[in-house]
Amino acid sequence: MQRDPSVFLVIADMGINLIERFAEAFPDRFVNVGIAEQNMIGACVGLANCGYKPVAYTISNFAVHRCFEQIRNDVAIHKTPIVILGIGTGYDNASLGPTHHILDDWGCVRSFPGLEIHSPTSCAYASPLLDDLLDRGASAYVRIPKSESRYSESSEPMVYLPGQDQRILVCTYGGLAPVAVEAQRLAPAISALVFNRLRPLSGDAIASVLSRHQRVVVVEDHFAETGLYSSLCQVAAARRMPVAIESRAPTDYTLTVGTSPAFFLRSFRGDASSLAEDLR
């Protein structure tokens, strides 16, 4: 916001102890719309109509699910330059229950043409991302995990972490990057392919990595039907690759309380210990 006077931050009453510095520094380019996410997206589109570069911020489940039609009609159809920043992914809000589990957010909007989807796993990727999106006038949904991940300083959209051999490849993204890294530490044979960008994907580069492994396991805290598992299956199918891709992902919402993401990951053996045990 300091660098670009056309950036306008719009929030839906979320971000305590985070957004205050922006509100104080740039009062003319900050607005809190209140608990009104549909209006948040619409107002951002209006700001874009007036030449601003809006950044919409709230928790991921509200940003996407509440505003599905606004993102489709007002953002995707109009190719509106906007960055929708959602905080929280997967089971970040573990104990808050299924309304706050974020298992189907990017899958809901991944069919919208032109909408970029990023799920940063590191500050090295996330830090320059916002400037890049704003400079390009992109329409983007960026989902930020609450966990801090420092597994890699790579700013690439996709990071390959080779294991001791090339039998097993674990693919994941966002908040589960540390899980893949820990699984690799426990079982050094495991290779990992970690995604920062979920859409668009570099199909040929992905296919090149997949083809070097005997077994591919996609681990995600998102439903597989619309998640990375689905994306990688499409990549493989389009190239008629003879590769079997397995999924470890939640299959339903749950009313069972868990106080940490790990509790839920264990339920589908997507935690580091289970992966290391099963795939060593």
Binding site: F8, D28, R29, V31, V33, G34, A36, Q38, N39, I41, G42, A43, C44, V45, G46, L47, A48, N49, C50, G51, Y52, P54, E69, Q70, N73, D74, I77, H78
Partner: protein, 275 residues
């Protein structure tokens, strides 16, 4: 009205609408006829030249009830914003003029069709124009009375009121019929003015077929520090006797015979501009 702009008459616009709908065998007659005077008044209230040139400080006209596309395009044509040739493509293969308002048509700010979207975009425009210092620019948003049932409309109204976006004026096409039946039989919001007043907004109620009255109401609202709503009491299907007040004319298309009857019912108008 901006000097030098054409004097657009409701009869001429209605004739154009009938031609468009008949030629394309398209629906949405009732909801197009109800807003003719409103749309004329909206364009008469702003600098149309800046809309034609897409100037950054232009006023924004947002038609949130996108199903009145035929009326919107007809009025835009009569104001010289889009070409008659373009109008002839309405609702045909390869044209940009769909049955709902589209920003693929130059001069249209925002595509609509799903209801409850336009006012939020208008609110953002109001905020953006104010932040840019374009104090002369207005944001005029047209919604239907049935559309008021969408909760997002009220999100935006609260926002507009809280931030005193007096450059935004909401115009309600209060034609008393929503999609399939009378609005009050679905969700009774009468007295409508009190609803808006309860949200802290200025409210004017006017004959929605009186262009001068609507222009005056918009002007009053723009001078008020409190954002305003103009409730325009209209007749769905106005000007086409067999369609007036009839919900079915949201959907029905014109036969050749009906078309001739409807045209005859409009009467002659020297200023009519045939396409």
């Amino acid at each position: 009205m901006t000097q030098g702009e054409p004097a657009v008459t409701p009869q001429a616009v209605r004739r154009t609408i009938l031609e468009m709908l008949h030629r394309a065998k398209a629906s949405h007659l009732g909801c197009s006829m109800s807003v003719v005077e409103m749309l004329i008044a909206m364009y008469a209230s702003v600098d149309v030249g800046k809309i034609r040139s897409h100037a950054p400080d232009r006023s924004r006209i947002i038609v949130s009830k996108g199903h009145c596309a035929a009326a919107t395009y007809a009025v835009m044509m009569h104001y010289g914003i889009i070409d008659p040739d373009q109008i002839r493509g309405y609702h045909t293969d390869g044209s940009m003029l769909a049955g709902h308002v589209s920003h693929g048509v130059r001069g249209v700010e925002h595509s609509t069709g799903a209801l409850g979207h336009g006012l939020a975009v208008g609110a953002g425009c109001g905020l953006g124009l104010r932040a840019r210092g374009y104090s002369d620019a207005s944001v005029l948003v047209l919604v239907g009375d049935g559309e008021l049932q969408e909760g997002s409309v009220w999100e935006s109204l609260m926002f507009i009121r809280h931030h005193r976006l007096s450059n935004v004026v909401l115009l309600v096409d209060n034609n008393a019929i929503s999609s399939i039946t009378h609005t009050h039989e679905v969700i009774d919001m009468r007295p409508l003015a009190a609803r808006f007043q309860g949200f802290g907004l200025m409210v004017a109620e006017t004959d929605g077929h009186d262009v001068a009255g609507i222009v005056a109401a918009i002007s009053d609202m723009r001078r008020s520090p409190t954002p305003g709503v103009v409730i325009c009491n209209t007749v769905k299907g106005k000007g086409v006797s067999f369609a007036e007040h009839q919900p079915i004319w949201h959907y029905r298309t014109l036969s050749d015979e009906m078309y001739r009857e409807a045209l005859g019912g409009l009467g002659n108008d020297e200023e009519a501009c045939r396409t």
